[in-house]
Symmetry: C2
Subunit: 634 residues, 2 copies
């Protein structure tokens, strides 16, 4: 088994594609990590904004989380429709492109791609950050730890989507089960005590209020809480990876994810209120996350508490995986439409879009390195992309139903219309409240990426138009080429080039660039005796020798001028330049040669113009020397 096989699994034939499809159990882990993981920071982000309200903030958090859950419901219903309407994958890009036009599609794609990249960087660094609260020893190796996690996720995804799903099943279900149990226990206690449960471990007291609630503050809390919804679109984009019936499987997966997320949000909101749990300042010692406080209050510092914390950590740092499923798939769609290089659409050895995976990993690694593994500041940036994509998708679906003649189209139009309205409102809120904090960067990135796609698309479109061939082979143009062979002297290398030239043409001109007359005279004599005479004897047209004097010791310029001159004199013939090339058996031997063959080829290719063809006759150095001739003269 080779190293690559061990690392990435054996290569898969294209015909094995069917075996790599998934079901909802795996789907939740593969596509839901991002959405589920965000339940651990969404409510906390909202509560953080509410800190200055003290106790008064708690009565507001429940309402805010109900609004967010309502928004989630709208998203669920409308994305459910999208999955049914686009069973081949109805990501925001496809939906926007088909219903709103290419520009909208590219902006939706840019939004998603920016979002995916941020999710990877923020997810991994948040997970490692949380791990460091538990193991402070790690603190001096934040960046290294982040990059190792990134590497593991990358390799797992390069192995293929089903395996990576299996790999994440354990942490996902650990998180779902332990947090679910904690919340269930808490709700039960709250119910039994008539809404006044006694905490097993009391949360730290809330700070005194320093502000009164204002609309602006509540809106900002809502906007921050909206980060809980990132990742919900993942399923609609990835319908083709499900087993048949894929629409049903995909819808079921989306349902499970949304249900769990909604329950978690409402549960967290309720328990924060009844246990009087607020967000704490993360910069200060003794910091505990909201989930940690809730778990301690409901079940104490027992096994369940630690399982719940461990699950949160795992899901946070692995939530990057959702991006790794969707980013390459979106890149493939863009590549197929000609807005990215076609290699993004190539299936790798394990039938995944390896190039997208590698690019995502690379960009995320750069982000992690720039921010030294601490990407807290990126958090305000990343709801923008998600909600921008939501809005494009919902608006696109409105248009879709408007044109549709299906029976349910009218209802569906209003469902997606509601979705469009609410997500647009949420996006506006996020943009307004977070613009200065960093949302402007996201806006710039999305716009820039969209413009880049347009430029690339234009290039490929022009290329396609130019190389398109409507007509048939034109067989007229077939007088044989004139062959030009640049030589340094009479040796085996030029011998080989000449022999090949004589196989393909009759008019052969060997060109030697010289700076010194005696050497030139010697070459002329050798040429007469060893090249021309044998050719004449064999009844062939002898190759001509042309010696060009180069007063400024240049090699290529006189040669290029000679070739241009030839072309001018014979406009109807192809000029084939035969370039003898030494091939070395050891890499370092390449360092000892002047790259003159490579440089000459590049020059002729870019400057030669139409009607020039380059021929490389390789000359291999592999054969051993005759015995007793291993070193230079001593």
């Amino acid at each position: 088994m080779s190293f690559l096989d061990a690392l990435l699994g054996r290569r898969l034939a294209t015909s094995e594609a069917g075996t790599e499809r998934i079901k909802p159990t795996t789907g939740v882990a593969t596509l839901g990590l991002d959405a589920l993981g965000s339940s651990s920071y969404g409510p906390e982000a909202a509560l953080t904004i509410l800190i200055p309200l003290g106790m008064a903030g708690l009565s507001r958090i429940q309402a805010i989380l109900w609004v967010i859950t309502g928004l989630l419901l709208v998203l669920f219903v409308s994305y459910r429709q999208t999955i049914a309407a686009y069973p081949t994958g109805g990501g925001s890009y496809t939906v926007a492109k088909e219903n709103l036009g290419m520009h909208a599609g590219l902006l939706a794609a840019s939004s998603l791609l920016v979002d995916y990249i941020l999710v990877v960087a923020v997810g991994i660094s948040a997970g490692i950050g949380a791990l460091e609260s538990a193991f402070p020893l790690l603190q001096h190796h934040t960046l290294e730890a982040c990059l190792i996690v990134l590497l593991i996720i990358t390799l797992a995804n390069l192995r293929g989507v089903r395996q990576s799903g299996l790999l994440w099943l354990l942490p996902t279900y650990l998180f779902v089960a332990s947090l679910g149990l904690v919340l269930a226990v808490g709700l039960m206690k709250s119910l039994l005590s008539g809404g006044h449960p006694v905490a097993v471990e009391a949360p730290p007291p809330l700070p005194a209020a320093t502000m009164v609630p204002t609309a602006w503050l509540l809106i900002r809390a809502f906007a921050s809480g909206c980060t809980a919804m990132t990742g919900v679109e993942a399923v609609s984009n990835a319908v083709p990876i499900f087993q048949e019936p894929r629409v049903v499987h995909a819808q079921r997966t989306l349902f499970i994810i949304c249900l769990l997320l909604g329950l978690f949000l409402l549960g967290i909101g309720h328990l924060s209120y009844v246990y009087k749990i607020g967000a704490m300042n993360q910069q200060q010692p003794g910091y505990q996350s909201v989930i940690s406080q809730i778990a301690a209050a409901t079940v104490g510092h027992g096994t369940l508490y630690y399982l719940c914390i461990a699950g949160t950590l795992a899901v946070l740092s692995l939530s990057a995986n959702t991006s790794f499923s969707d980013f390459p798939r979106l890149c493939r769609l863009l590549a197929e439409d000609g807005y990215l290089p076609p290699s993004f659409a190539n299936l790798g050895r394990r039938l995944v879009y390896s190039e997208g995976i590698v690019v995502l990993s690379f960009i995320s690694a750069i982000l992690l390195v720039i921010f030294d593994g601490i990407t807290d500041r990126l958090i305000p940036l990343f709801a923008v992309g998600a909600f921008s994509a939501f809005t494009f998708s919902e608006t696109g679906m409105m248009m879709y139903w408007k044109k549709s003649r299906e029976k349910r189209a009218r209802t569906a139009f209003f469902v997606n219309g509601l979705g469009a309205l609410t997500t647009a409102l949420a996006l506006a809120t996020i943009l307004v409240t977070k613009f200065i904090e960093g949302a402007w960067i996201t806006v710039l990135l999305i716009g820039g990426l969209g413009a880049l796609f347009l430029i690339i698309g234009r290039h490929y479109h022009r290329l396609r138009r130019k190389i398109e061939m409507e007509g048939k082979l034109r067989v007229g143009w077939s007088s044989p080429p004139i062959v030009v062979v640049p030589i340094g002297g009479w040796d085996r290398v030029s011998n080989r080039a000449l022999l090949f030239s004589m196989q393909i043409a009759r008019d052969i001109i060997a060109v030697n660039i010289s700076n010194d007359e005696p050497t030139a005279a010697r070459l002329r004599a050798v040429w007469k005796e060893k090249v021309e005479q044998p050719a004449i004897d064999a009844g062939l047209q002898p190759p001509k020798l042309e010696i060009i004097h180069s007063p400024y010791r240049e090699l290529f310029i006189p040669l290029l001028e000679f070739i241009r001159e030839m072309k001018k004199r014979h406009p109807d013939r192809t000029i084939a330049v035969v370039i003898p090339e030494l091939v070395h058996p050891r890499w370092w031997e390449y360092l000892l040669h002047n790259y003159s063959a490579a440089a000459l080829k590049t020059l002729l290719l870019t400057e030669g113009g139409d009607g020039i063809v380059l021929i490389s006759t390789p000359w291999y150095l592999r054969e051993p020397l005759p015995r007793g001739d291993a070193g230079p003269p001593k």
Copy 2:
């Protein structure tokens, strides 16, 4: 006038070479800066070792400098002979190679090259260091200042040797005149006062003695003082750059340099003694160099003092220039003998060996960057190379005279024998006293470089043997090639490749790698209609289409296998692979393509084996598109 012309001067034709030769006045500046500049640090280095002796050290310094001057005399006489014996340039390399064998020659060359590199780095940083004592503001920009000076020296040398000589005339003669005047005034005062002159500005008192003089200490002082002699060999290596009669001009230059250096050494030794001037600790505030103390003591802090200091600074930082004259020249000799790539022997646009200049500049820049512009620690390393080269040269000349039948051969043999003996002794002293301080690094570098030359030499020798062509053109082997054209489909690019193929051969096979049957079937139909039929109609043998199924989605491996198979089936025919290549008008457009043509060519060149020829048919994207067709579909 182009930018390059402005920077480097207009290019010179080979026939203009004669105008670039120099005379002794320029020769002293071009080749003597290193030797003369070392008079400013040689005596100081010896005095530094003597610091612990206090006043007692002063009575020793005179003796040590007399010994060193004696050694200089021996070197002068023997190098004078060398110049006469090797009028085409008798550097240590040539002399050692011709009289002691190639290995000795390569070691001598390595010694010199290492020495030249160290002289550049140390010279520039010492000069800038001294400048910083005068202008402390510079201290935060040491590295930048060093690199700027390096750049100026490099550009000046790329302009050509005569210009660079003129450029250095002013600082050299400023140094010689001012230091000479200071020493003359001092000697006069010493003479008039009977050896007890009164200092104009009294030097700082010498520290009390902490040691008694030991033989070891005196030997170490001598070894350190020997750095004063580096650079003396420069003239013998550069005889060809002098105007005719070059031997006389070169000998005169050597004489002037050695005379000035000897006078400076003796003068400094005497004045240190009579004015009671010792070396000071450079790490401590208030540091003054020995030359600065002497100048202050003899002429006070007047104009002459400042001229003398300025001259020292200039000569120190420009002493690098000697290396820039000799390093490229030595590299050329090595290249002509096949121990360095031939490009080191190419004359650049200004008839200097540009590649050697650039390489020296690059390595020195790396040294400066590594040491952050502070290369004090390199000083112990750099007398080793010079004395090693001296010893090789002197021993080589001994052998030369031994074989010679000239009248003066006997005397000359003893002169060079004396030189060999004394330089070998000095080298042994330097090695023993400085081995642990860093001389071991130099020894390793010299050995390593020598080994590298042997490896390179072996490579070029084998190459020459392999491509040597004794016989005549063999005209038998000329059945036309089989042409293989890898195509992605039927478009203008493959059309162009096919048309060329039909010009040079009859057996043409287009190869398409496919993963999907419908596309393959479509291509077969198009082929039949648009390629085969027109060819048959024109009475030509139609190109065949071969579609290869690639289950693992690889492109190159199946193609390579196909070509190998063809070769096995037709061992007597050349397989010509025609690779259509898109040429883009804008650089960034290259980023959008897969480099597949380049990768395929590299693979076929290195893996294809004998009997394969590569043909690139370029396809230019320059032509504009038809109007109204500028963008992708919206």
